[in-house]
Amino acid sequence: MSADIIISVKDLEKHFNAGAVHALNGVSVDIERSEVLVVIGPSGSGKSTFLRCLNLLERPTGGKVIFEGTDITAPRTNINLCRRRMGMVFQHFNLFPHMTVLKNLTLGPTELLKKSQAEANQKAMQLLERVGLADRADAYPSQLSGGQKQRIAIVRALCMEPDVMLFDEPTSALDPEMVGEVLDVMKELAKVGMTMVVVTHEMGFAREVADRVLFMDEGVIVEQGTPEEIFDHPQSDRLKSFLSKVL
């Protein structure tokens, strides 16, 4: 195995309802360190399930996920330790409404990484500065706009200093005018070499930032390649018809 493969997915399968619904039907992919992998596909194609299997929020019914050399699907693996190194950003932000922004950001570092509150605060403020929200540190999530919430959610994941960031349709729940500010943060992140797996409907983002695009449909990878290959020279009919609907 090459040293710079950070996540290796082998024959991943996920069936719901005792096999009645096949969300994933044997997905295999190697994700390299610092790669930006964008997953696109129609709704119900299994792309979110695929992403959620990477940190075992969804437990696969078959296949393996190997993260930094550890098979996280093995029963003996401590998934909590692995998840610390895998940041996740959700469609609906999922900030903790009963805590201030700063507390949202420092809960993980202080409780799990055993950092002092001062140390965690410093790191959090530094990151807040970078996304332009340092002045909202003492606000509660309900006082923020959608775009601000999502930027905070990204920072919350970054505060754990992860090796990979998983994005599950991060802009789908946002008002159109707020999509840009979130994508800008993600672009910034890609620029500094963060490994990212992004499920999105933002084709512009995929084209501009992705190193590789996966097109999924009916639980399998139908096509993959560079943004140029996928968007300018689609091979399969399914991809062509998908692109004709979304572009």
Partner: protein
């Protein structure tokens, strides 16, 4: 009018002042408050634990692989359901009598027995209240906690329970008030609580009106006071989010 007032005053003196009979009321009140306090404490502890067993089982039963863990969870869950069914399916007076005459026969500490019985009883209702609170929290909160790397228990402790607690405070207050009044049946095991105290005065003075109305008034004032206190707490918890 003046006549009626004078009679009332006379009755008051006769029932409460003579022979220091007011002590039945104050001592009884103290017992009622003690039993309610310890029962509530025990009820909340039982409620949180059993609610976590029930809701974690419901959440994880499909995902857990067969093994020791799953067997243990299933056993705990069955036990929890049995507890809820039995406690909610029988009258608290009967539970009190069983507690005193069957289970805790060796102790004469009736405050302890009453606290245990009412705590175990209240725990069943608090379990369902807290379980409802846990279920009311968006599943995304749970996933966010787990995705950061928190264990199930840590996610419950830092993220779910604090939010659930806020949501269930009105129902919990309701249960607390119900509990306070339910303890009035303590007299069945010879515990001199507020109700029994008033009743003893009635037996001594052969006048029912004054002691019983006084007891009722004290319960009413207690409930009004605690409702006000909880309302204050509720507003304070809510204001932190705005």
């Amino acid at each position: 009018m003046a006549q009626a007032f004078a009679e009332l005053k006379e009755s008051f003196i006769f029932n409460f002042i003579e022979g220091s009979r007011w002590k039945y009321i104050t001592n009884g009140l103290w017992v009622t408050l003690k039993v309610t306090f310890f029962a509530l404490l025990l009820g909340i502890v039982i409620g949180v634990v059993v609610a976590m067993v029930r809701s974690s089982y419901d959440q994880m039963k499909d995902e857990m692989k067969p093994g020791l863990g799953k067997t243990l969870m299933t056993a705990l869950n069955t036990l929890a359901r049995l507890y809820l069914t039995v406690i909610r399916g029988t009258p608290v007076v009967v539970q009190l009598l069983i507690g005193y005459f069957v289970i805790f026969v060796s102790t004469t500490n009736t405050v302890f027995v009453a606290s245990m019985v009412f705590g175990i009883n209240s725990g069943a209702y608090i379990t369902e209240i807290i379980r409802g609170g846990i279920m009311s929290i968006d599943h995304g909160q749970f996933e966010a906690g787990r995705s950061i790397g928190f264990t199930y228990i840590q996610t419950m402790r830092f993220i779910i329970i604090p939010q659930a607690f806020k949501n269930v405070l009105p129902s919990l207050a309701n249960e607390f008030i119900a509990l306070l009044k339910e303890t009035a049946v303590c007299g069945y095991i010879g515990l001199m609580d507020l109700t029994k105290g008033g009743d003893v005065i009635r037996g001594r003075t052969f006048s029912a009106f004054m002691p019983l109305i006084a007891v009722a008034l004290i319960y009413l004032l207690l409930v009004i006071f605690f409702s006000w206190l909880i309302g204050k707490l509720e507003r304070r918890l809510r204001s932190s989010e705005r």
